[in-house]
Amino acid sequence: MGDVQHFAGPPDWLWYILAYFFLAGLSGGSYVLATLLRLRGAPGDEPMARIGYYIAFPPMVLAPILLALDLGQPLRFWHMLWNTTPGHPGVNFKYWSPMSIGSWALIVFGAVTTVSFAASLVRDGKLRLPLVTWLDNRPFNVFGSLFGLFIAGYTGVLLSVSNQPVWSDTWALGGLFLASGLAGSAALMLLLTRFRPEARPSAGMLSVSERLYALLELALIAVFALTLIAAGTQGQVFGLPWLVLWLVVLAGLIPGLYGLATERLSPNGAAALRHSLAVPLLVLAGVLALRAAVIFSIQV
């Protein structure tokens, strides 16, 4: 069987899309980790849970702006949701088009993160709006987490549902972006504990989860590479100059993998991630580099 043939042209999804993919991964991942912490029900984990809900909200404010700016006709962003074909008005929803599902999921998750963000402010005594704390209960957080998982991962599926080289040659991108988003979210939450010392008791949990997500991401990178080798397109994404970005991706995995090798699943090793500024930033650089390598390598 020969290599897969590709003749499709690039869609020029560049910087805005890279920023959106990065933010979507962090927002979705942070919401999920925050909910896991809250579900445990220990008061000591609540401060870290709130860090997660605080992180999840701003990207969902920026995301629609970035996506609209990327459109050729930004003021027609609402055409994603409403069919303006003359004589055929109605809701646009195509379950087989990830971009269509993603548009709706962004609205739902945007609303969810807004409520949880506001509820965190209320619980921290920064805002008086009792209604949001009533709304922001555990079933609501679980519901939001399902959308968080979707938002963090569907961007990879969106790329695969195309006829582009590399993107359409693999089924691993959705999982890969999700794993990377979760790892980056854990690192970002740990990074922000320096501004909220009462969240430190939960640092161990996040440190252990970051190690596991780094392992998961590494496994999915291997699957990604294998699927591309089968298609004969591996050279396009792993060749120079993109190899440099992959080195950053691997560097971002090192803290987690090293932690797993030395500390295994012990929560004692959280100090490195919590006290260091460089280590969480390295993990986040890896999250960004992964998306940049995948997005740019076939379009530039």
Partner: protein, 271 residues
């Protein structure tokens, strides 16, 4: 030609064996559709158009197929020429992924991008396996061949087919064109031109192409995926979502494991 009737499938049969590379189709297309075109590209051969995009809805491809050393006189090897265009696929990848439903099938069974509905997301560009669609720098929306929708509505043959001096581009009802194509292929084969083949005339490629071709070499030589590679974007939905779902489960499990380790630590510290 009889009147152009809504409700009937119309298309092009482009016979590359008689294309002379004059580019009259490109000129006529640009003139009728008021396309400005791009700055000329100085490429190999006589191609200064480059590719199909928002400003080029017909593109004459020039492929140098002349052997480096002449083997014998008149061995049939020469330039491969093809006037490329949107294929108006029965199963169109662009229509499949378009989130705004801006891409519709017209009453002539052609694939049409509604300019006032498209918002320029460019998902169709990522999906089109033939690299037909481009984003306009002036309007911001996706543009491609419309099969001269406005001309069809006024009972007029598309501009490119009207201008083609060798009738390499034939326009008409698709069923009629298919019969013409089969007859032409039989004639060529009878003349010993065995490399000639039809592409997109049957359902093997995207359910059938309303703009199909007679080729003088393998499809990939002209930038056309063969039958095995002519696949729809939606094929990757199941695998992509399944992998993401498995990762999501593993991700939640990883979080729960991490929580459990922390609880054990807290318990041991309490004890």
């Amino acid at each position: 030609m009889p009147h152009i009737t809504p409700g009937q499938a119309y298309g092009f049969f482009t016979d590359t064996s008689v294309c002379i590379g004059c580019k009259a189709c490109e000129v006529a297309c640009k003139q009728w559709n008021q396309l400005e075109g791009n700055a000329p590209s100085f490429l190999d051969g006589f191609d200064n158009t480059g590719r199909l995009d928002a400003e080029n809805w017909r593109h004459v491809q020039f492929h140098d197929d002349v052997p480096d050393e002449t083997l014998s006189e008149g061995n049939g090897k020469a330039w491969l020429l093809m006037s490329d265009v949107c294929k108006h696929c029965k199963q169109a990848s662009c229509m499949e992924v378009c989130p705004t439903n801006a891409i519709i099938r017209t009453e002539f069974d052609s694939v049409f991008i509604q300019p006032d509905v498209c918002n320029g997301c460019r998902n169709c560009i990522a999906a089109c396996p033939y690299d037909v669609i481009g984003a306009s720098h002036t309007t911001g929306i996706a543009q491609k061949c419309t099969l001269c929708y406005d001309r069809l509505q006024n009972d007029m043959t598309p501009a490119c087919a009207k201008a083609c001096p060798t009738e390499s581009i034939k326009f008409g009802p698709v069923e009629e064109l298919r019969r013409t194509a089969v007859e032409r292929l039989q004639t060529l084969h009878a003349q010993g031109v065995t490399q000639a083949s039809l592409y997109g005339h049957d359902e093997k490629v995207y359910g059938g192409l309303n703009a199909f071709f007679l080729l003088m070499d393998k499809p990939e030589k002209y930038g056309l995926p063969d039958e095995r590679n002519a696949v729809l974007p939606s094929r990757n939905n199941a695998g992509g979502y399944l992998t993401a779902a498995v990762t999501a489960v593993l991700g939640v499990l990883g979080g729960l494991i991490a929580l459990r380790r922390r609880r054990e630590k807290v318990s041991s510290e309490d004890g």
